[in-house]
Symmetry: C2
Subunit: 458 residues, 2 copies
Amino acid sequence: MSAIDYARSQHVRFLLELKDFLRIPSISALPEHKSDMVTAAEFLRAELLRIGMENVQLIETEGEPLVYADWLHAAGSPTCLFYGHYDVQPTDPIEEWESPPFEPAEQHGNLYARGASDDKGQLYIHIKALESLLHENSGKLPINVRLLMEGEEEVGGKHVSQFVREHSERLRSDFAVVSDTKMVRADIPSLYVGLRGIVYVEIEVNGPSVDLHSGIYGGNVRNPLMVLAQIISQLKDEKERVLIPGFYDSISDVSVGEKLSWQNIADEVVKALEDQSGVGLFGEEDFTPLERAWSRPTLDVHGIVGGFSGTGTKTVIPAKAVAKISMRIVPGMQPQEVLKQLTDFIHSRRPIGTSIEIREVYSSLPVLIDVQNVFTRSAADALERVFGNQVAFVRSGGSIPIVADFQDCLEIPTLMIGFGLPDDRTHAPNEKLSIDNFFKGIEAIILLLEDLRPSANA
Amino acid sequence: MSAIDYARSQHVRFLLELKDFLRIPSISALPEHKSDMVTAAEFLRAELLRIGMENVQLIETEGEPLVYADWLHAAGSPTCLFYGHYDVQPTDPIEEWESPPFEPAEQHGNLYARGASDDKGQLYIHIKALESLLHENSGKLPINVRLLMEGEEEVGGKHVSQFVREHSERLRSDFAVVSDTKMVRADIPSLYVGLRGIVYVEIEVNGPSVDLHSGIYGGNVRNPLMVLAQIISQLKDEKERVLIPGFYDSISDVSVGEKLSWQNIADEVVKALEDQSGVGLFGEEDFTPLERAWSRPTLDVHGIVGGFSGTGTKTVIPAKAVAKISMRIVPGMQPQEVLKQLTDFIHSRRPIGTSIEIREVYSSLPVLIDVQNVFTRSAADALERVFGNQVAFVRSGGSIPIVADFQDCLEIPTLMIGFGLPDDRTHAPNEKLSIDNFFKGIEAIILLLEDLRPSANA
């Protein structure tokens, strides 16, 4: 029997086991679920041991444990690093769930549960693909495999990032596979090949040594909130173009092939953006909404702190004002370069006599995966065979820090093969996973690994 | 014996009685002091009855009671309306008090207690002046007198303002006396003859129907915080000049006499401003710091609400953003006119496709008292006789809403005769009143009333 045939013969059991995994309420954001985090990690360890993976271990961190396993006996084959996360989002507002979030329920071909799509269900696809391959090949895999699973993705993923940075040799691989994204549409298998990076800063304007009464001081003291507004307003024009000199200078062009591939799905993606925002899309001239979302950098203000922001009124001139601002950056741009451009610009525009501090809070590199590399091509081929439709090479305007870490520290590309669907309601009540996609996902991963076995193409 | 002589003979008793009044912890901001508010009001009622005032009554409001009394038998004489407030500020930080705030302590010629200067001590000056006059004139006063005292000045004074608006006929008077301000210096008696008014608004910029993720939407949606910053930044230039068309057009000139009077005290006032702010004063070109504080209108941002302003980071494009802004306006300017100028300007600068709402939160008229009117002249004369120095005619950049109410609803001028000193630490620990000023204040009020008796100048 082939691994695919075996997987098909085990549908009922695979689904039952996924439900067991989903019943563990591993909510990383809530301290009262601390022991559930360990239960979920232990569940994965037991499962990986049972299916025949090696070096199975929980790696303690200052946060939740990492789960690691490998199988490295395919000499001359590439090594694949599977990543997933076993933690889930909180469930509130709980009253909006139609079935309990940790009692998986099947309906209309979907499995409803918190974590079904993000990311327990998708992570489980990898495990069941490996189980099928190991079972049908006398405990062997077609290529070398490592698995690394974390329990803090929904709360920032700090410790897995630290682990990757500190153990790049131990994790040495040729490519990574992350299934934590969504397909553009139920019939369009999608590979994410680009992510925006981010530079998050706080800009602080200092003024008087204490908050002052605006009746007594108004007209005689520079108001830090006003100075901050004047600075912020100079960062972007009314046509949404960022005015920081050099900001757009080092952007890599999107390849013609990638752009062509966007045409098929542009309407789909843009409509989804429009539907959820409740306002018309608006942005840089001469760029399509898809380009603005995926391949153009931008700048946003997230909050302004200072003075009085409660209900009612207070007539205060604040001693200081702080803006929380981030810039989304695209391939070709470097966080430190962007930070310097911003800092230089602000200091050049700073009113004489004002004191301004710019703090980098965090940053993450943009990601670009070569559509032509052998791994991407194999993944596209596997997806097309399973889904019977051409793969869309898409990007995300958001950031997936672990993928940037893999690119930056391990120097490997990541195949972001998502089996979620746009209506999966990840992070919201009634999260679900298409059961059909769960099974198709297992087959796609099996095909990908089989295709990458050196003899496969010999 | 003259009333003045009588007052002098009663110094010890007057001070003891003031201490009794100061022992009542009538903190209007703290609900646990609710019964103390009534105690303080009852204290005043008993006192006014005892000294021979008539129609003495507590007037219930939805907040703290008003205390009212009058004596209206001086046919052909003007009527004076005395205003004061019996509530005090909270005492925190309590550990910084060198003696308990409600155990009045005499030291270095001062009386230390919460409310000693603001405003129980100053209010008591009026009562002791009236007592002296009534005692020495067989229960008669030189002119007609009304007293109105409230217990909510430190929490907004909403109910006294409502009472004045609704009972202007009942309160009919020719001028008012408020002793709730400070002298420029211990040897310079000061009359406040100008107050800035205020127009407090909220400006709301609306964007997407819900907060959006800046990774997914950044570049495709106008950010309300950015639009708000762009609007705010256009309200004032970097030289602190307000850019709203017409804003400066209707300002009344400061009379030559008033300006001359400022010269003597400018250094004193400006130094106090500089010392407390911890920054160099900065404002409109071609105007002195004193003019900027007293006779020039201005605009300040007090807070900006929207998005994420907690500790840490969140990458949100907020659905809306609100700025709390006030304009201080000077004599000649009308709140509704200024509001219209602001609204028209913002709408003319609003980026196409954005939705902006401007809400008036409250406003208060500027106040200007004619230096040449008979009441002002009599007050100045009384002060100069008691303090032996020329009166300074000063202004405040802040607003005293009750004075604007008297001007607007009763159409009478208010003599703002303050006996506080710049270092009285009102609202702060170790508040005090100069005992010498307490006694001098009583004499000044006696002289003022005697001077306004028609026969006095006959």
